[in-house]
């Protein structure tokens, strides 16, 4: 019988002024040394459950709490949070907000100082904690000098320096690029495997959770609806789908293959578990009616033209050089690359928020330097990652009208376009509400509606899926597809490559300020070495397709689980 670190017994909790229980009758035992994954749709209660483990819920928030949470022998409602903090470390989602000090060593020392640990002991623990997260030698650096992944690793170092029995990580990778996310997962895995630290991690990163977690808890509406190994949980594709959760692509690929009638012994949830079955699958007779869709051909004058663009920031950072590309009307372009690759710098040149150090950027044939930002806004709509920074009016209607008033449209045009935009975004019923009183998904729709009211020819979505759950991400991307179908030119920047094959036609891969690749999405996703050079990994379905290609040279370069299933499907059973 494994030793227990934490026991939740009949836990139910309701926040003050909330009508519903966020946690409902939760019973859970967390074993010493395990890596427990916590999954569930937005609002399932994952963060609340995390905060119940260190007493922040209910001690900090108040509200109604039933049942008990024990960390070792301590009841979390009977001991102050500051005492529990020595047993439970926590890493939060936002790397910016959780770093308090102005140097790495002081960041690690902060909790230890609060716990009255002697100075000599603090000095001993700092290098150990930094070594555990591979941040040696950064003691004197300011946290803001670190990359996103390094910041999260610093937050982990600060948490483990306390030597807690339990480390909680609440969506630690959702705001990071793939490199940062990989760093954090690798660190968590090492801490768990090598130091035996117990880890509870809430995360939407299905592939990594399947790889590293020992058990997975599926929460929905505050209740535990499934608990088991990653194989047991992630192979239940329908259960996940009914909870708006995304399984690892390898699981959804095998599930889709099985649905075509092909006998697959199991639904593997990790790539390595799928390997034994690939030989048989690769040699199946492909569906003769399957054909790869041809990349759409777009012709005409470029709407957006970049020629030999270079940009050097005032501090001397060379952010872009030698970038040339044309984007034509009606294209759907995906821009990818690690953080610092130059994606946002490039896009800011389209909007004249940055001016070229060398080269030229033209919109509709006009040099952007000759256009004001507000004039360009009529032609290019830009939707930034955080909707809350783009909301500054008292009502949804006023928010939509804002741009139209700035652009001096007549009252009739303002009225018509506002109504059209409210209807298109399904915001008619909430037009008089304060935008910030709406849920996050709806706030994103308000911002998109406000941009669409200007009827721009080009719409740029900058990291629209960061911090969104699977459903929220799909919702925004579906809007982008509708706009594309309506004839708009769409540009999306995202790290979530697995989401994009259904939407984008063309991919621009950026790395270290240069354009590494500009091709159709199929060619780009299969350009393994180029992606690797900018620290990106293609979705698992692409990897499966490539592995089967190595086993059977005739196997096609496929992109999605559905494509693989359709390609392999017996003729009459093709979906």
């Amino acid at each position: 019988m494994p030793e227990l670190i934490a026991v939740l017994k009949d836990v139910s909790y309701k926040y003050p002024r909330s009508t519903d229980f966020v946690l409902s009758n939760v019973n859970l035992e967390i074993h010493k040394g395990e890596f427990l994954g916590l999954i569930g749709p937005t609002g399932a209660g994952k963060s609340t459950l995390c905060m119940a483990l260190n007493g922040i819920v209910p001690q900090f928030y108040g509200g109604r709490f039933f049942g008990s949470v024990h960390i070792g022998d301590l009841d979390t409602t009977e001991h102050p949070i500051s005492e529990l903090a020595s047993l439970v470390g926590q890493v939060f989602e936002d790397p910016e907000i959780q770093l308090i000090a102005t140097s790495v060593e002081n960041e690690i020392a902060f909790a230890l100082e609060n716990l009255r640990i002697p100075r000599e002991v603090i000095s001993e623990r700092i290098p150990k904690a930094l070594s555990a997260v591979r941040l040696e030698g950064t003691e004197q650096k300011a946290p803001n000098e670190l990359s996103g992944g390094q910041k999260q690793r610093l937050a982990i170092a600060a948490a483990i320096a306390v030597q807690p029995d339990l480390l909680i990580m609440d969506e630690p990778t959702s705001q990071l690029d793939p490199v940062g996310a990989e760093e954090v997962f690798a660190t968590a895995h090492e801490l768990n495997q090598e130091l035996g630290m117990t880890i509870v991690m809430a995360s939407r990163a299905a592939e990594e959770m399947a790889e590293f977690a020992h058990r997975i808890v599926l929460l929905s509406h505050g209740e535990i609806i499934a608990l088991g190994t990653p194989d047991e949980i992630y192979s239940q594709i329908e259960l996940l789908a009914s909870n708006n959760l995304r399984p690892p692509q390898v699981a959804s690929t095998f599930y889709s293959i099985r649905k075509t009638g092909i006998a697959v012994p199991k639904v593997p949830v990790r790539m390595k578990d799928a390997t034994p079955y690939l030989g048989d699958l690769a040699n199946l007779k492909p569906n003769p009616s399957f054909a790869l869709p041809a990349p759409p051909k777009v012709t005409g004058e470029p709407l957006l033209s970049v020629k030999d663009l270079a940009h050097v920031y005032p501090d001397g950072t060379k952010a872009l050089y030698g970038v040339s590309l044309d984007i034509r009307e009606g294209e759907y372009v995906l821009i990818i690359g690690q953080n610092g690759a130059g994606k946002s710098t490039l896009v800011k040149h389209f909007l004249n928020l940055l001016q070229p150090t060398e080269g030229v950027v033209k919109v509709g044939g006009t040099d952007t330097r000759e256009m004001t930002v507000s004039a360009l806004a009529r032609r290019i709509g830009y939707i930034a990652q955080n909707p809350d920074n783009q909301i500054f009016n008292d009502s949804v209607r006023a928010e939509i009208e804002f741009a139209l008033r700035n652009l001096d449209y007549s009252p009739e045009v303002i009225e018509t376009r506002t109504r059209e935009s409210l209807e298109a975004m399904g915001l008619m019923d909430v037009q008089d509400r304060h935008p910030l009183s709406l849920p996050k998904g709806d706030r994103a729709r308000v911002v998109i509606g406000a941009i669409l009211a200007m009827k721009p020819e080009i719409i740029i979505f900058d990291e629209p899926t960061t911090g969104q759950d699977y459903l929220g991400a799909q919702y925004i991307l579906n809007i982008s597809r509708d706009l594309h179908k309506a004839g708009k030119t769409v540009i999306v920047i995202t790290h979530h490559l697995y989401l994009m094959p259904e939407y984008a036609d063309r991919v621009i891969v950026m790395g270290k300020g240069t354009l590494l690749l500009d091709q159709d999405i199929r060619s780009a996703y299969h350009a393994k070495d180029i992606l690797k050079s900018t620290f990106l990994t293609a979705p698992q379905a692409v990897h499966l397709s490539r592995q089967m290609q190595q086993l059977n040279g005739n196997f096609l370069p496929l992109l999605t689980p559905k494509e693989i299933a359709d390609y392999l499907a017996p003729e009459e059973g093709a979906s």
């Binding site: 900090f60 002081n106 909790a111 100082e113 002697p118 806004a377 500054f392 910030l436």
Partner: protein, 286 residues
């Protein structure tokens, strides 16, 4: 959004190596003396010394220039009001009995409406310069101490100077999150420009109106962030209790003592000269 760094100086200097307590002492002494002196010449010398020290220790000229640019309208207003309206105070300070003793610069003709007959005086104008240099000293002496000290050393120094830990922490948190708010402010203004707001065509008054509209999302954002910060602090065992340890010791070194002794002597000398020789008074020997 990336976290900007507060206006901390990068240069390693004698001043930046000092403990925060002697720096606080310097701020206190300079502030008292700036308030006590009424001599424009001495105030000018003090302001020049402070500006020069700022530059020597690495405070960027661009920062000082920005402060000067922001203050210029205020300074002009000060000069005008003192030149035209400060009569009773300068007469009292200079021991004059009648208005005729004031040295006039010019007088508006009597027949001019409203302002006819009013006059500007050299005495008022000079006193205005005294106030300007005083303000400049007070505006720059605090950044001189704050920008040259690492925030955590500031907390340790303040706690050792018997300032309650909670106040020291609030002070340092403000410094830590001020750049974050500036970043949010810039993002909001950028978002407004991208929705057709032509800032470049706006009058200053209209711009101020736009900036005031940014306050609501900025404050709401700050409230959300402050609650997140509170949760983070709780999880790091922060309780505001002064009963905690510190990684870095705050030990006064000979240089710290030397600075405190020097400024104590400076303070006593300045007050001795002020009281017994009227040096530093308005209209005094210097």
């Amino acid at each position: 959004m990336s976290m900007m760094k507060f206006q901390t100086v990068e240069r390693d200097s004698f001043f930046s190596r000092l403990d925060f307590r002697p720096k606080l002492f310097v701020v206190m002494i300079v502030t008292i003396i700036a308030f006590a002196w009424e001599s424009p010449l001495l105030q000018l010398i003090l302001a020049v010394v402070i500006v020069a020290t700022c530059l020597l220790v690495g405070v960027k000229w661009s920062y000082i220039r920005t402060i000067l640019l922001i203050m210029i309208p205020f300074y002009l207003l000060l000069l005008l009001t003192h030149a035209f309206f400060n009569r009773d105070q300068v007469m009292a300070l200079e021991g004059y009995d009648s208005l005729d003793q004031l040295r006039r610069i010019f007088t508006f003709p009597e027949n001019w409406p409203i302002i006819g007959g009013s006059f500007a005086t050299w005495d008022g104008l000079i006193y205005g310069f005294n106030v300007i240099f005083k303000t400049l000293t007070l505006t720059l002496v605090i950044p001189l101490a704050v920008f040259t000290t690492e925030v955590n050393n500031m907390i340790v120094g303040m706690v050792r100077a018997k300032i309650p830990y909670k106040i020291a922490f609030i002070f340092s948190s403000t410094l830590r999150f001020f750049p974050l708010l500036i970043g949010e402010f810039t993002a909001i203004i950028e978002a407004q420009r991208l929705r057709g707001l032509a800032m470049e065509k706006m009058s200053p008054i209209k711009r101020v109106k736009v900036y005031s509209k940014v306050a609501v999302p900025l404050i709401l954002g700050a409230l959300v962030k402050s609650q997140q910060l509170e949760v983070v602090l709780q999880s790091k065992a922060f309780s505001g209790s002064p009963d905690r340890t510190y990684l870095h010791e705050s030990i006064l070194k000979p240089a710290d003592y030397a600075i405190m002794v020097f400024f104590t002597v400076f303070f006593l000398t300045a007050f001795f000269l002020l009281i017994y020789y009227k040096i530093g008074t308005f209209g005094g020997p210097i």
